[in-house]
Amino acid sequence: MKKLLVLLLLAVVGYSLITAMMGVKFGENRLGDPQDEKTVSAYYLNNTTQKLSVSNVITAIVVNYRGLDTLGEVSVLFLASLGLGSILYRKHKEGEEEVAILKPSSQLLQAGSKLIFPAILMLGAYVFIHGHLTPGGGFQGGAIIATGFLLMMMAYQDYRVSHSVLVWVESLAGITFAGIGMWGLLLGNTFLENFLPIGTLNNLFSGGIIPIIYIAVGFKVAAELTGVLDTLLNIKDKH
């Protein structure tokens, strides 16, 4: 009975979505002529290189045009790592024997991880430092670094990322982001407004505050995701 109702609902949803998508032609150019800037996207494509000197338009949108979204997004991750700690928190009881949830890994994985780990960190750092020039940026780089730490946690059972280092990195990166935003406000402009010289296109030092913010985001995301993984991996089974 319930199944029938659900299938009916799915049919209704599917039908309305399909009819809705009939009106949206695939691959059609909806931006209009970039020159008359009828849509927001056309404006971005047209002006990013001159006004911000950033080659990756997506980075410009994420960090500057819609910077408030990114600030919110970073705080969502921050909240998730905080909430995870609060949800899974429990008092430590006396005489509790704890067993890690991961099984010991093979020698091969251990040796390999040690070798690959620095390379992953480098890749992650590269991705977020060049966020304004090439695909990638703070979120991608941060996630890559977090996978590096994950590899180490899986290879070595007793591998621990120092909690206080994570807190410091996370807080300082967050303060950098919000602080740069506030600095723009204090200079008499608006929140998150660019106040640095924008440099020349396709240089590493270009884009004003965008690379700085994206690097801060990279550190913050890396710390937050590592913190989430650390909290989850250290839930202990009692034996």
Binding site: L9, L17, F26, N29, S55, V57, I61
Partner: protein, 127 residues
């Protein structure tokens, strides 16, 4: 019936996006295991993200990156795909991960408390 490129692409991409949304919805509504429900939620999210990127795609467009190569394409009259959906999906993916992590931590806590992760076994979850 002969289908042209656009029709094939729209069936392939829109079809898989809507399919993902419906399959995920089915899992959320029918399945009884908490982890399965969370899997359903992440499948719905995946479908919506795919739909959004598909809406921003322009046939023959390049990625919206003004690297020297990209600039050359634009200078020769090429178009770039819509960058806004990509930026928004970037945000949505990260938010989706955060929600998934919180959901799964709740699943772990419920399992510890009730020794089960099935909705029909946990009395206060029924409604």
């Amino acid at each position: 019936m002969d289908l042209d490129y656009n029709q094939i692409m729209s069936i392939g991409v829109y079809g898989s996006a809507i399919g993902l949304i419906l399959i995920g919805l089915y899992a959320v509504l029918i399945k009884k295991h908490l982890t399965k429900i969370v899997i359903g939620l992440s499948i719905i999210d995946a479908g919506i993200h795919l739909l959004f990127i598909a809406i921003g795609y322009i046939k023959g467009g390049t990625a919206p990156i003004f690297s020297p190569a990209g600039e050359k394409i634009v200078a020769n009259g090429g178009v770039m795909v819509d960058p806004v959906p990509q930026a928004l999906v970037l945000t949505a993916i990260v938010i989706g991960f955060a929600v998934t992590a919180v959901a799964l931590s709740l699943v772990i806590r419920l399992y510890r408390h009730h020794q089960t992760a099935r909705i029909d076994q946990i009395k206060s979850l029924k409604w």
